[in-house]
Structure formats: structure tokens, C-alpha cells
Symmetry: C2
């Protein structure tokens, strides 16, 4: 395999880590021929953009939002030099779904795996993409993801290898879904942290590949222009009779979405980089942080076009359908015509069972089952509730609302900086017997903590996420939980209160799908299992950006003693100032 | 004198520097009795504010903008712990007019004297206030000053000492002038850096003590509320027959202002902390970064109130008069009534000579003349022009547009990190013979540089700032230049091109005023002299925030070898990462 060790441009590279990483790749992927290094140079800056026709300052990568798609083949190394050209704002970039085996310092999670990148500085992320599939990248600091810093990662399977795709198609399209506000992320965050709580409201628009359509008649004169090419709908060209793979990712800040291609049933074949036992849907529910691949066949009347539609589900929608166009005419040309229909509006927003059923239906492809360990060494039961702390509305797990420390755990633990965060172990469970998840939290007072869960290296861990009623009566939302550094088996879903004495009996141990992000449905629970076999420190949190900001997350540590020497580039903040 | 050495709360304090500083104070101010340490704890965060009735996210100190007034007595030590509770944004705070003798690391100038303070971190500024007078503090990073981080510093003279006030008054009021935009500073800065240049336009309002009045009928519904107490005009209470000192400071981002108290002539007695040979004005021209004290006597009809008015001069005004009220009734009570008149509108905005004459009139009080050295060791002639670099509009000095390095000079020079900035000396002069300052720049191409001027320690330096035409024909603006770490003698002003062979003969060497900020008038020049006797690295720049952002500044170094050991707290960025 090729390595980058003799590259001349290594000023910012992480030399030792890459060597270790290369060694790991060599050992584990030695069947893969011609692994390459895919280098990218990114400059992050604010630019005025009009993704939904409304002018707004957006955070961009090389002037673009979404950023460029990273394409690589299984076994490649991806190397991205991220230059911070923001004026006063720091930065960190996360590679969502990439497990960072051997490179925990490249996970890009501020406060967990690195200090942020200061204005004027650059940081080079270097990591192996060891599995094929559809992934995402996005900022992981403050609420910068909402500001526009996101894009897709597509890793091609090695043909003929054990991970080769168990399906065929003629062409491929990428669909990146998002929600969008005209408010700045500073305004969003300040409102969330205010007393009383100020909620910015439902998204102003839904974007497909960074393009949406806000109703300019509702805007201040001059700031909105419906004729800008920048906000023209994305067009996906198909040829009649051919089959296409659509790689679909959701990076929404808030919204659960339902995605539909008018008149074209979708066969789901991949979820979060794992092959799915194919099933057909009219439309796909997709939660923030999830990716899917679906196949469609262009078998409809080729004399017209069709809508791609993105609709809000799980919250009462206040945002117009996001649209794009499936074109049988060959793309964004003068012959392009809008579909003659109105865009699909998706299922009823509050039809939880509709979404629940798709979740349950998503299991591993028969040819690609990786059976989970039969028994867990440890089970953590997490009650997801809203709480109040000093008048601030927070999210909490077992009444502990998470706060990020300002010294990254990875450095703090490796260097023994015990004062950097709360050393007391966070709670493993809550008083579930008799707890009424359909009622408001009986104890709305929570504490904040930056304590983490220390996992025995190599142990098998179950986590059951229990959803419940929020502070307001008769309200429970969907929470997509994302785990860094791992995929987990999705063992089961339920509606109602999880009973540790009963419900594990219903776990799917036969063919559970591996995922990195999974939905916890309103008033429901989701059970997952993973092996703590990736040395490092890993965040696990609700992927709704405002929920994580409000405390809805935890952190795992495992095998810190096995982590190689840390690159000094991740240090420089908090207690790591001057420690190297 | 008292020191803080035995204070229990020193976790963040700069121990060694304070010791040196205290030593210095002891030696230089040993006549001052009972010097105290004035401690402040500040938390910086974004809050929604409506200073001019329009709701906007503002950067605040302990929830307030302007921040609290720092009051101290000559010889005191001021200690401010600045906690950064911004979400993703760094911070630095400058103490404008405080020379920081012995504490160059406490000047708060990001890129020059310190690395910025990261979110979640705190930095304690500790410095002596060795001279009485009226000063300002404000953020000195990016364009955070415009976001709301500013306030006043008032240092009382030691009664009976050599710096005792040569004037008397019955009461005192503080007037802090500003201009205000509803756009975020990110929007302002992104527009300034864009190609093509995007100018946000004239200020939305002028604030007096953080209070202004935007016309809500021009605003989006809901965001503007003219009845908010927060934006009610400030009221200054006076008793008939008494004399008041008004300490007036301007912290505008852009505007040159004219300040008037209707019907009350002002006797100017202090400028930038130095006593002025008293002169009477109907209204006072004040530029960003300047402070003045004036005396007025409440000798008008006490049965009505009077306007305080702030008007834009030097640029064609696009902003309503900023107002407050002088009340003979005793303040913000139910008996308060608006003045029966319309507020003063000030002099013609383009009457340069009116402003020029006030500048010339401002000389040292006869009892407080500090004569300048008769001859300078070095003279630097700086042509202030606009230029274009790669399509970006910039400001430049002798065709060099200044950029801040990301390693603070102070650390880079003390530690010999020569690669941290351009080592070539910047130009001492420009080709002035035959240069037509009334025409557009013949060479609009400039270079950027972060080179600095190294001054021989103890030498006497003259700087002549030459103003000229901008990129657009028939346009030249006023630039208020501010020097850190020093006061300078203002030797002279002129209109037209400065001739080094002729004009120095007209310098005022008899009673020039000492200032830290001085205006360079349209198409004019200003000559100043200072002693390079304060070990450290010091910025010298146009105090219009957007102009400095666009390159209108230089930096001086002097006596770096005499600077004491640097506190590690100022490090951690650029090449200072891991150097301590």
C-alpha cells in the first residue's frame, strides 16, 4: 500500500500518528491493493450565501456550503488540512461515521478529542476510511454545524472484497438534507441559553444539497431574491430504465425528515455504512446524523419530471416542503421543466408508528450479518428528560445535564490531568420502577456535569435510551443518538417504559443492523450494544445540535492506556496549555 | 502602599509580573499614599439587547453593554479577571490610554501582546493606573468592540499632588459616545473582506451611555420597541448654579462626532488624561478613542431641560442625532420632561477647518507643560492611502497594508521566534516629492505585511501621518490614530502635503498637548513625537475599527530585552503553542 511518509508537504501533518495508523492499516487491510492518500486543503470562512434565496452569512469550506464531497476507496487515508480563516472564532471538524481506529485525536470533537483550531491556524486531520459506505463530515464546536460547515464522505467498496456491495446500479446521486435558519447560530445559541428560554422557531427552509426555497414575500426587501441561480432546485438526471443509487444523508440541526421521490419506490440497501436486508418504502424517514442508500429505477413516464421532497416529521411542521427535481431530460438544461404535480407531503407528522416500523425493519443484509456478542458486560440505562437548572431549560440523562470541559478528555486522561473534569462516575440508571414516562418529569431539577463513563477495554456495553415526556405536558420528541468511534448493534426498539427484567428478551441478536446513529422515538426506548474496543474517548449524544448544546450527551473512555502518543497539535487549551 | 501579594484569590493572577509591577510602582509613586488594588470579575457573553430600541445580540460584560465603569485613584492597581463565556469566540480586552509601564503583556491587544482568551478560559489583567484622567477599555480582537464590549476608566488625581486638577467643579457626569449597527460584527467584517467590497452603510444610531433611538417604523415588526426603558434617553441631573465636569469619551467604530450640550458652552480642561489650557467651545469635536473633560455651569433657565446631542461630522451623515437630556429637575423621575426644542445638529459635517481649529487649540495647561525633546532621533513619514490587493479594498501606510500575525509579537520577539512575522523593516517614508495628495493613489497596488518598526530604546521618534485622497475621487476622511503604551506630543497639524524640509519649523515645541489618540484631518497631516522608553511591543493604528481591520496600522517594538519574564497565560497560539 502507499503511504504518505515521504510527502514533502508535511508541516502540519501528524507524523507519529500517521505512522501508527499506516501500520494498523497494513495489518488489517493488507488485502486491499493500492490504498491511496486523498488530500484536501480547506479554508473555512464566513461568506454571504443565499441557499434558500435569503441572503445570510454562512460558514463555508473553500467558499462553499455544503463543502466538497470527500471521495475515497476503502482502505485509503483521508488527509484534510483545515485552515481557520474565521475572524475571532475557533473551529473543529468531525468525520461522522468514521471510527478513527488508531487515530482518536482526529475525531474532531472539541472538548473531547482536541482543542479547537484558532483563527489563523490550521490542523491536519488524517485518518483511514476502513469501511465502504456513506458518511458525513461537519463542524463539532458550538453550533457551527448549523452555520453551514457540513458535507458528505463517500467511500467506495473494494470490488470483489468481503465488503463488496450486494446490489447493483447504473448510476449514483448524492442527496444531502438539511434544515436552515436565517438567524445566526449565535442568536440560536444565546436564545437557548437565556432565561427565559428563547426558541427561534421552526426552520425557515429545508435544503437539499444546500438549495432551498424561502418565500421571499415574507422577507425584508432586498435580502431575498427568488431568481438567484444559487437557490434554484437541485436537479437529478436519470435515463429511462436505469437503476440509481441515491446516497442520502441528513445533517439537520433539528428536524426529523421524511424523504420521498415522487412515483419512485425506494429499496433501502445501506444504512450508516452497513448493508441492509433490502426493503421497499414509498418514502424514507431519516434522522439527523443518519445516512441511507436506496435504489430506484427510472421506470416512470419519461415525458415529465418528478419531485424529490423533504418533509418535517415528529415535530409539528412549520416549514415548507424542501424540493428537488428528478429529471428524465438530462439535468439542469434549458429543457428542464418543473413537475406538473404538487410535491409529496409525506406521512402524518405525528404518525410515530409509521416511523417506528421502518426502524424495526432495518436489519442487516443476510450476507453481511455480524452477530453481536450474546451477553453484555455492562448495561447503562439512560432516561432522556428535560430539566431546569437555575431557570435554564436543559436536557439531561438520568438528571445529569452534560457540559463539555474546556480541556479535551483525550489529553486530560492520557496526561492524568484529573482536575480537568468531574471524576465521579455518572449514573448507570435511573429509578425506573414506577416512573411514568408519559408524565412531566417529577424532579425537574438536574445537575450539570462533565463526568464520563469509563469502560473496561474490550468489554461489551449495552445502552438503553429511554425517551419520556418533556417539561410541557403531552410532548415527547424523537432523538437521534450518535456514537463516535464505533458502530453499535441496534438490538431493539419499544414504545413505553423499558423494563430491564423483561424487554431484553425481545432483543434481535440474530441480524441486528450496525449503525452509528439511531432514533429514539417519542415515549419509546432504543437498545444498542457495542464493543469498547477502540482506544480513545468518544462522545455519544443526541445529534440535534441544540439538544447536545443543552446537555443531551455523555462521553465514554476506553483503553486510554493503549492510545499512542498524542499529537501536540490537539493541545493548547484549558489545562493542556503549556503541558507539552 | 498596599499590594495584592497576600490576596487569597490569585489562581489566575500573574504573580511575577505583578511583583515587578508593584516594585515599579513603589519606586515611581512612593509619594502616593494608600494605593489600592481594584478588583473586578467580568464574564463576557452574548445577550439580546435593545440599546436603540432594536433587538440585537450584543457582546456584554456581566450582562451589560457598555460595561461597568472602572474607578480608581492614581497609583492604584486595577485587576480585571475576564472570563470568556462566548460559545466559540476568543477574546482580548484593551485598556485604552493606560501605558502599561512594566506590564506590556496586559495591554490586551490580540496578536501584539497576547494570544486570545479561549471560550471557557479566563485571563487576569493587572496593571497600574499611574496617571489621573479619563480612559476607555474595549475589546481588541477582530471587531468585537463594535459588538458591545467597551466601557470607561476614571482615575482620580491624588489631591495636592503634582497631578492635581487645575480646575474645580461641584459634580461629575460620564458621557460615553458610540455608533451602533444592527448588523452583526461578522456581517460587517465579512463585507469589508469581500470582493466586491460590501459596505454596511452608516450607523443605525448614535448611542450616549449605551442608549439611542432607532426609528422603529423602519424596522421589521417585533424586533423594535420604542417604549423599552432600556432605550430611554440618559438623563444628566444638574442643580442650578453649579459647575459640572463632563468626562466625555468616544468609542465609535466609525464616526467622528460633534458633541453639544444645548445652551451650555463647554470649557475644555482635559484631553486623553492630560490637562488642557482651558478654552471654550459651543460644541466639541471628538474622534474615536479620544477622551475629554469639559466644565459647564448650570446657569440657564432651570424651568426647562436641555439636549445633549451627538452628531456625525467628517462623513456625510446618514444617522439621526444621538440625544440625552440635561435635567434641572433632578434626574430620571416622573417630573422629567423633554426639552421644548429640537436637538442641536452640530456644525456642517464637511467643515474641516472648524474641526482643524479645535485640534490646534488643544495645547497643554500652562501649569502642566511637559516640554518635548527638542530634536527627534528618527522621523517616520506615513502616507495613509486606500489600495487594492487581489481585488480587496485595503488601507495602507506607505503602500503596506498591515496584517496581524497569529503569534503575538511580544512573545515572538522575547523568545526569538523570528519566523513568526516578516523580519524586513517596513518603509520609513514614501516618495512624497511631487505626490498629489488630492488625487487618487497613482499606485493602487499595495502589499500586506506584518513587519514591525524596531525602535532604539530611549530614542525620540517623530511620526508624521499624511492623509490623502481615497480610491474614489474627491474623498478623504478623518483618521483618529491611537498609540498603545505611550502618550505622544502633538507637534503640529497641517492641511495639504507635509514637506519634511519646511513644516517641522512650525512645530509647537513650547506647550504641545500629550495625547494617546489624535485626528489626522482630510487631506491633512499630523505630526507627533514620543520617547521609545516603555519596553514592549505597541500597536499604533487608526481607531476606526474597520480601518484597522483593513490594514491601517503599524507596530513598534522597543526595549524588548528589558521586558520581564512573560506570563505563560499570554501564550498558546501560533508559534507559541507548546513553547513554554
Amino acid at each position: 500500500m502507499g503511504t504518505t511518509m515521504d510527502s514533502p508537504s508535511q508541516a502540519w501533518a501528524l507524523r507519529v500518528p500517521r505512522l501508527l495508523c499506516s501500520l494498523f492499516l497494513f495489518l488489517s487491510l493488507s488485502t486491499t491493493a493500492r490504498a491511496a492518500t486523498r488530500r484536501h486543503e480547506w479554508e473555512i470562512s464566513y461568506q454571504f450565501k443565499s441557499p434558500d434565496c435569503m441572503r445570510k452569512l454562512a460558514a463555508t469550506i473553500n467558499g462553499q456550503s455544503p463543502g466538497p464531497t470527500i471521495r475515497a476507496a476503502q482502505g485509503d487515508t483521508v488527509e484534510v488540512r483545515v485552515k481557520n480563516s474565521l475572524l475571532t472564532e475557533n473551529l473543529a471538524m468531525h468525520w461522522h461515521g468514521i471510527r478513527q481506529i488508531g487515530t482518536p485525536w482526529a475525531d474532531g470533537t472539541e472538548g473531547v478529542t482536541q482543542c479547537p483550531i484558532l483563527p489563523g491556524e490550521a490542523f491536519t486531520y488524517s485518518f483511514a476510511v476502513d469501511r465502504p459506505g456513506t458518511y458525513i463530515y461537519h463542524a463539532h464546536y458550538g453550533m457551527q454545524r448549523s452555520a453551514g460547515l457540513y458535507g458528505m464522505i463517500v467511500v467506495a467498496a473494494a470490488p470483489g472484497g468481503s465488503d463488496a456491495e450486494p446490489f447493483a446500479y447504473d448510476g449514483e446521486h448524492l442527496v444531502l438534507l438539511n434544515d436552515w435558519w436565517h438567524n445566526s447560530t449565535y442568536e440560536l445559541a444565546s436564545g437557548l441559553a437565556a432565561v427565559p428560554f428563547v426558541w427561534v422557531g421552526e426552520p425557515h427552509s429545508l435544503l437539499i444539497n444546500g438549495r432551498g426555497r424561502f418565500d421571499c414575500s415574507a422577507a425584508v426587501a432586498g435580502a431575498c431574491n427568488a431568481t438567484l441561480p444559487e437557490c434554484a432546485a437541485e436537479v437529478f438526471a436519470v435515463e429511462p430504465g436505469k437503476t440509481y443509487r441515491f446516497r442520502i444523508a441528513s445533517i439537520t440541526s433539528l428536524s426529523a425528515l421524511n424523504f420521498e421521490i415522487e412515483g419512485h419506490p425506494m429499496t433501502v440497501v445501506e444504512a450508516d455504512g452497513h448493508y441492509v436486508k433490502p426493503f421497499v418504502v414509498k418514502n424514507l424517514n431519516i434522522y439527523s446524523g443518519e445516512t441511507y442508500s436506496v435504489l430506484i429505477t427510472a421506470d416512470q413516464d419519461p415525458n415529465r419530471n418528478y419531485w424529490l421532497a423533504s418533509n418535517v416529521v415528529s415535530r409539528k411542521p412549520g416549514t415548507a416542503t424542501g424540493t428537488a427535481v428528478l429529471s428524465y431530460y438530462g439535468g439542469r438544461s434549458s429543457t428542464w421543466r418543473p413537475p406538473p404535480t404538487t410535491p409529496p407531503t409525506g406521512p402524518a407528522w405525528n404518525d410515530t408508528m409509521y416511523r417506528f416500523q421502518q426502524s424495526v425493519m432495518t436489519v442487516a443484509h443476510p450476507g453481511h450479518v455480524e452477530p453481536p456478542p450474546a451477553i453484555a458486560d455492562r448495561a447503562i440505562l439512560l432516561l432522556n428528560t428535560q430539566n431546569k437548572i437555575d431557570g435554564h431549560i436543559k436536557w439531561a440523562l438520568n438528571n445529569v445535564s452534560f457540559t463539555l470541559p474546556h480541556t479535551p478528555y483525550l489529553v486530560a486522561m492520557k496526561r492524568g490531568l484529573l482536575g480537568a473534569f468531574d471524576q465521579r462516575p455518572p449514573p448507570e440508571t435511573y429509578a425506573h420502577q414506577g416512573y411514568d414516562i408519559y408524565d412531566k418529569p417529577p424532579n425537574p431539577n438536574a445537575t450539570t456535569s462533565d463526568a464520563l463513563y469509563r469502560l473496561r477495554f474490550g468489554s461489551v456495553v449495552d445502552v438503553v435510551l429511554q425517551n419520556a415526556n418533556m417539561l410541557d405536558a403531552n410532548k415527547s420528541e424523537t432523538h437521534p443518538w450518535h456514537l463516535h468511534g464505533h458502530d453499535f448493534w441496534v438490538l431493539g426498539y419499544g414504545i413505553g417504559r423499558f423494563d430491564p427484567a423483561v424487554d431484553p428478551a425481545s432483543y434481535n441478536l440474530k441480524d441486528p443492523i450496525l449503525k452509528n446513529t439511531v432514533a429514539v422515538h417519542p415515549y419509546g426506548w432504543t437498545a444498542l450494544r457495542f464493543k469498547a474496543d477502540n482506544p480513545g474517548v468518544w462522545a455519544f449524544h443526541c445529534h440535534i445540535e441544540s439538544h447536545f448544546f443543552m446537555g443531551m450527551g455523555i462521553v465514554f473512555e476506553e483503553g486510554i492506556e493503549l492510545v499512542a502518543d498524542l499529537p501536540t497539535e490537539i493541545m493548547g487549551c484549558g489545562k493542556t496549555k503549556g503541558r507539552h
